[in-house]
Structure formats: structure tokens, C-alpha cells
Amino acid sequence: MREVSRRIGDLVLIVYRLGVRLTRMGSRSSAPLTTIGVVLGAGGLSLIPSAALDMVIGEGHEVALVLVALMLMTAGLALLMVFRMPKRLSTDELYKALVSAAAAMVVAGAIVHIATGAIDRIDRALVEATAGVTTTAVSLIERPEDLSRGEQLFRSLMQWGGGGGAIVAIVRIFPRLGHGGLDAEGGVATRAASRLSPTVGGNLRRLGAVYFTFTMIVAAAFALAGMPAIDACLHALTTASTGGWSTRSGSLGAFDSAAIEWLATGAMFGAGLSLPFVFQILRTSRIGLLSKSVELKVYVSMTIAAWVLLILWSGDGSTESVRRSAFAVTSAMSTTGFLAGPTTIFDEAGTALLVILVVTGGMAASMTGGIRIARVLVLLAVMRRELVRQVHAASVRSIHIGASSIGDAAVGRLVGEVLLNLLVVGAGLGALATSGIDVRAAVATAASMLATAGPAYGSSSQSSALLALDDFGRASAAALMFLGHISVLPVLAVAAAGTKTIRRTYHLASRRIINPAGRR
């Protein structure tokens, strides 16, 4: 197994190096445009298997898929011929590259949806693609089973690619924001994800290998549980990435199989684990590390406690209710968003609990959305520190999670991001409430979208959340998904930089108008 994993890691490294080489072809230095070039090229390449699948099965969308693939690859290559990655990336450029890469993925995804006729309006296609890239389990397509297999594969790959993008963020972005993930020594280390290897490539190789291997295991497990092979692969892609799109309108519940639901429960729980942590355990084979991790213990405890509460509050004591409760808890906590049935079966308390779990999310540096447990622990520690400071005003207390101490700068960024998320949820709630849904649904939808979970708990299907909204509401939902997947801080930092550039340009232009000769 370890040998297979290593081979996969080497493959990831080869692809990474190829990508790096491609980013050095051009002459003009621009991180965002180079990244867009890479994304468009990769997007085009990912359409080839989809086209091939349609060609083999004969469902008729292969021509459109090939044409779009060629178009995207050409555009990507053209950008890479002109632009190159700067040798040193400033923080601003890094954020710009991240945001533009995600935006380019969204645009590419929208083009594919329009080209294949899956969606007929560009604004709706953009919303659908945003849900895909941000690994959010909502859709405007009511019957995904009517799509061709190639389209289904493309949609799953889009979510899987979105998850892959999250790995890049875990390695390159999150450590800067103070939530890099969990180390194997029982505590949170804000730069843990960048400690696995001395190089960025090494880190990506290691985490990519874990991601790829996990996807393959889930696919094999689904197939063994009786799911058709293609469906197994497609669902594995969206499970590992915590995307949650399904090939059926009834999501995983449509298979009506207890084995599949239990397997999915386990897989979603696994997707909520910290990738660097999993890698450390696999590499060192020290199972004892599991008991040392504070975050893991909290993750497991929360899952079990929520499961029990959901059974008590909303269950009827049957085995089906026990299974559905476990499924709903892991689906919410991992922000995957798969459904085993309509979430209307849960009562008010159960629904509220699921929304809270969605907001909490899984472990830091995992594929999940939400605040994430490590950050929740830090927030609890901040609250405790303030309580103590009320009594001992002059006391100096550092924030500790397990054995790790979190620096004040990291705590500040983390708290700042959580506060920003609160403000964004407030704004999102206001925007969604004007879009034709009641306050309860607006709260559930805003929280679920920002956490990139998807279904608004209390709704009946993955498509009902978006279909209930008007165009403005869908645009707001898409903005929330985007902010939730990339993190609010980088997006706002890019917006702040953009505003500054506009202000500077305006200032220069006004100076030229006032003093056209440029005399002092």
C-alpha cells in the first residue's frame, strides 16, 4: 500500500513539475495570469476523459466536450506562452493568484455547462460551476441522471479539482492565515502543513498522494458495496473532495442501500480528518498518535455526541433512523452535503444541530469547509482567557491547544477571519431573505453556503435550496460559496488591493487632467 501511495506521490510530483515548467515559458511576469493559464489548460485536459467516456458509451456530448477542451487548452497555453510566474511571490500576488485561479475554474465550468446544454443561461451556469469548484452540494440541475456520463464525470472532476485546489490552499495559504492544520504531536501547529517537507513540491506530493489514495479506496469500497462501477468512481471523487454532488437526484439515498450509506458515512468522516495528520500517521505507522491529538478527540466526540442527540431528538429507534442520523451528522460535519433522504425528517432541534455542525466543520487542514474544529478550540481558549483576565487583569496567558502554543498574531488572524465570516453570514442572510425564502431557510442557506456544505437543512433535496431563490439570491449564494471555499481574508485582501489600484489610477489620472504637461 505504501509503495502504491509513493508511486501516486511521484505521479503528483511529475504533474506538479510539469506545471511549474509550463509556468516558466513566458516572458512577462504575472502570477494571476499564469495561474489562470494553468487552470484553463488543466480544465481542458480534464475534459478529455469525459469526452472519451461519452464516446465509448455513445451518449453524444463528446464533440462539444472536445471542442471546449481544445478551446480551454489553447487559451491556457496562450497565456502560458506570454506570462510566467514571478521568481518570488509577494503575499498580494499569492492571494491574487488563488482568487483568479478559482474564478477561472468557475468560468471554465460554466462554459462547459453551456456548451453541453446542461444549463441554458450563463448566470445560472456560473452559479452551478461555483457550486462545483467550491465543493458545495447544491445544484440547479434537478435530474442529474439525465446528464450524459461524460458530463457527470466532468462535474465530479470539477469538485475533485476544487478539493485539489484546497490542498494548494492548505500548503500555501492557510499557514499564512494562522490555521495550517494539526501536527502529529497532539496539538495544533499553525504552520503544520508546511512542515511535512522542506519544499512546497514535497508537501503537495505528500498531501496529493493521500488525497488520491483515499479517493481510490472509497471508489473500490463503493463498488464492493454494490454501486455500479462508474457511479462508484464518480461518487468517490465527490466524497473525497467533500463536494457532495451525486449522479442521482435523490443523492446517495437513491441507491437505497444500507451498506452504501454506512460506507459513505465512514468515508465522509475520513474526509473530515486533517490531511497532514493522516499523512504523519501513515508514514510513521504510529497509531498511538491518534490518542494524542486534541482536535481528533474533539472531532470524534462531537460526531458521537451529535449522532446520539440526533437519534434522541429526531429518531424513532429503528435501525434506519440510527443509520440516517449517523449519515446526516458526518455529511454535515464534513460539509459534504450528501443526502440519504429528505432532511425534513429531522425536527427543529435536529435541523438546528445540523446547521451548527455545518458551521463547525471538520478538522483543520482537511477538505471540509466551516470554521473547523481547531479554530473552534482556539476561540474557546480565547473566551476562557478573557474570563480569566476579568479576574486577573494583568495576567499574561498564551493560547494552548494540546501541546502547541498558538502565537498572538495567528490568534488575531484566526479571530479576525471568524469575525469576518460572521459579518458575511449577516450580509448573506439579509440578501437571501430578500430572495423569496423565509428567515429560517435564509439562515440555514447562508450558513450552509458559506461552509460549502450545500443543502439548506430542512429542505428536501440538493437542488431545492438554489431553486427556491431568485436570481439575486442565487448570485448571493454563489458569492457565499466562493468566499467560504477560498476563505474570506484572501478575497477581501485582493479586493482591498484592487480598490487601492483603482484609487491610485484615479489619482494619477486626475493629476494628469489638472496638470496635463506634468509640470511641478
Binding site: 431528538w313 427543529e348 435541523t351 476579568q390 469576518l420 442572510l429 430542512g458 481574508l489
Partner: protein
Amino acid sequence: MTLALVKERSNSRFRADRFENTVVHVIGIALVIVAIGMFLSAMVGWIDGGPDRSSDTGSLVASGAIGVVAGGLLWWLSAVPVRQSPVVAFASVAWSWLAVSILGALPFLFSGAIEWAHADNAIFESISGFTCTGSTILADIEAVPRGVLFFRSMTQWFGGMGLIVLAVAILPALKVGGLELIAAEAPGPTTDRLDSNVTETARRLWILYGSVTVVVTVLLMLFAGASLYDGVAHAFATASTGGFSPYGASVGHFDSVAFEVIISLGMLYCGASFALHWRAVQGDWGIYGRVSEFRLYVAMFFVLVGLIMWVNVSEPFGLATNLRHTSFSVAAILSSTGFGTADFALWGPAAQAALLLVFMSAGMSGSTSGGMKVLRLQIIAKYAAREVVRARHPRAIVPLRLGSTVVPDVVVSRVIGFVLLYVTFSVVGGLLLAALGTDGVTAFSAAFSATGNIGPALGEAGPASNFLVIPRAGRPILMWLMLFGRLEVFPTLLMFAAAARHISKRRVAGYASVTDRR
């Protein structure tokens, strides 16, 4: 004469025959003050008349007597130590509020307005009064005797500026450590001192507070035709931003534009900082324009009125009615008063969502309003914006400014802790209410309304309803949230810490004496 006696009693606090305990001493003083309020209400009940005159007066006199005896004993037997820790200050404030809430429940029970089998409901009503929340469990308010209803409004008036602030203002014994007590009770992240002397600060606050109450009463009587009883009762609830009305339809009972305008202006005035008002009264009217929190508070009012009027355009009432109901409801929620003229729980989802967000912010720090306060919202918004700058320039040192003032890191840190605790406990409260069978919107809006001391919530607990819709087991959660919000989070969390410390000290001392004997 009474004041002289009180002063004499207070100045002899170091007598050797009394045990030193601030918590017990402060509880005693608070009980006596509330008991005096009960006697005054009994007089009102007697003068105002009505079919229940004797039972009304009797219940208030009996409750007042219990208060005077219990409070007097506690006050007489205890003394305030020269030095006291912040924990003791927090505990004193929290326990005294709990004690007066229990005493305040007695008139409802003695008068038969609430049955003894539902004594918890009486405590709910009392806590809702003292914390200036304004949530009620009384299904038929008009059936309650007039004197008890007057006392109900008076509980809010006591709670508005704070019993402890009143005690510090009139009792020299609390001069030492009085600032800690005021800080533990005062709304807002910092304590504004109007004078270097703590007693003088408290006195000025109460003078201004009393003056506002008188002005509102006079205006209501002169321009809205209110009776003295209605004027005073509504002025109590307006100045304290409490929101109790002696009528089931609240302010809507009068159906008078003049009444609503006076109350709206009163609510907005009392939702602003009393420290600012004091300076303005001293002649510095420009202070309002210079304080960014006040500017934001006023801007929030106008923006919310505009926004809600816009989303309410589709509702079946005209522009004038829309303006009237919207501006009154926004003033009532923004100042955390909770008076009602229209059932906003029936408005569109967008209007309700906007009001739900206002539940959390409420008025200015240093005002009588509840909620997180505009100042704290400003600080967290600036903090979040600073983190955006820091994300781009990780090594930058960016001070957090409000206007030209740099906010110290200690205050920022305290505000963040407060906001996190506030939101966490409100959400947990909402979840518990939902677990008890309340629908989601009602559960969470009731939790946020209780923590913000707003009064009405959304869903089934709207302004036209009462809190009997919340299951009986859920009401203690709301009671705790009301105290938690009114005392600004920390005292209610630290109220047991002083007792635990005391016990722990005694155990250590006991262990040491046993060891010595050996």
C-alpha cells in the same frame, strides 16, 4: 432624615461586630431599595383605585415588608471590606440582581396575578423587568392590579440605570470599590467617568436619568393626552429601554401618533450614551457629532428605517403607515426597548432578517439599552478590517482607531471575548429551546432577544404574543440569558467564582489549622 440615617448607617461599616462580605452587603442594599419601590407602588395602587385596590396594595406592602426585613438584616449584619477583588464585584452585582428578581416576583404571586404553582413565571416576569427585557408571560395584562403593573414598570426603571449605580450614588460606604461595582454593572466595554469622584459620577447619571423620565412623562401628558399613571409607567419603560406597558397592545393601545413620536424620541435618546448626554447638557452640544459611535447609531436608525420601508412596500399598508410602524419598530428594537405598535413577526422575511440582525447590536455603550452595543460592533468591524490589512502586510503594526482615538489592545481583546461568549451562549440557548420543541425561528430569535434584552422575538413569540409559547422548561434558559445579557456576560459567568474561592480559602485555612494542631 432618611438619607441622614442611611449615611450614618453606612459610615459605621467598620464596626467589629459585623462580618465583612460585599456580596451580602450589596444584596441587602438592593433588596431595601426595591422594597421602597414596592411601597411607592402600593401608594399608587391605593390612589389609582380599582376593584382590586386592597389586594393590590396588600400584596405590594407585604412584599415590601419582606424586602425591608430581609434586606435590612443582610445590610445590618454585613460590612464592605476596604479592598475587594473584581470577582467579588462581579459576584455582588450578579447575586444582587438575582435576589431582587426573586423579591420582585412576590407582588405577582401575592396579588394572584400569577398562581403560586407557576412561581417560575413570576420570577420570569420579574427578571424580564429588572433586566429591561420586556418579555412577558402575562396573557391578560389589563387583568393585573394597577399597583402591581406600576411596580412592574418600576422594576425596569430600577434596572435601567442599575441598582448598584443607585446604591453607589447614595451610599458613601460603597465609595471604596464603587468603581468596580459600577464597571461590573455598567453597559459597554469601558466605564465612562463623569467625575473623578465615583459617587458623583453615579449621582450625575441618576440625576440625568430621572430628568429624562420626568421630561418624557410631562411630554406624554401635555402632547399625547396621557394620564399621570400612563405617562409615568411608559416613561419608566422608555427611559430604561425596558418596554413594559400596562396594556396588552403596548403603545399600540393609544393609537396616537404624538404618543409614538415622543416614545420613539425617548427610546432613541436613552439608547444613546448618558455620558454624552451629560456633556451635552453641560453645554458641549458638539460632542454628538464628534463621537463616531453616535454617528453610526443614528445612521443605523435611518438606514434600517429606509431598508425596512423599502422591503415592506409590498405589505398592505400605505406609505404613511409604513413610515409610522417601521420607524417606531426600528427605534424600539435598536434601543432594545421592545415596545410594539405593529406585529413585525408578520412582516416579510427580509424585514424580519434585518430586525434579527439589530437584535444583536442594539444601542450605544453607556446607555440603558441591551445588546452587544454599537461600539463593540465598530470595534469588531475595525478589527476584522485590520486583519485584512495584516493579511496583505503580515509585519505591519496597525493600531485600531475609532475616530482619532486609538483603542487599547486590552479593550479590543475584552470586546472580542465578549462578542464570542455572547454569540456562543445565545446560539446554545437557541439550540436548547429548539430541543424542547420550539420552532427554529422562535427559539433562536427568543434566545437572541433575551440576551439582547429586546423583549419580543420573531415567530410565535412576536410583539402580539407572549412567552407562554416557550415551553416551561425553556423559560429558565431565557431568564439566565436575560441576566447574562443585561450584566454584560462576565458577572453571570463569574458569580460562582467568588463563592468557590471563599470555600476553597476556608478549606485551606481549615486544613492548615488541623496540621498546626498536629
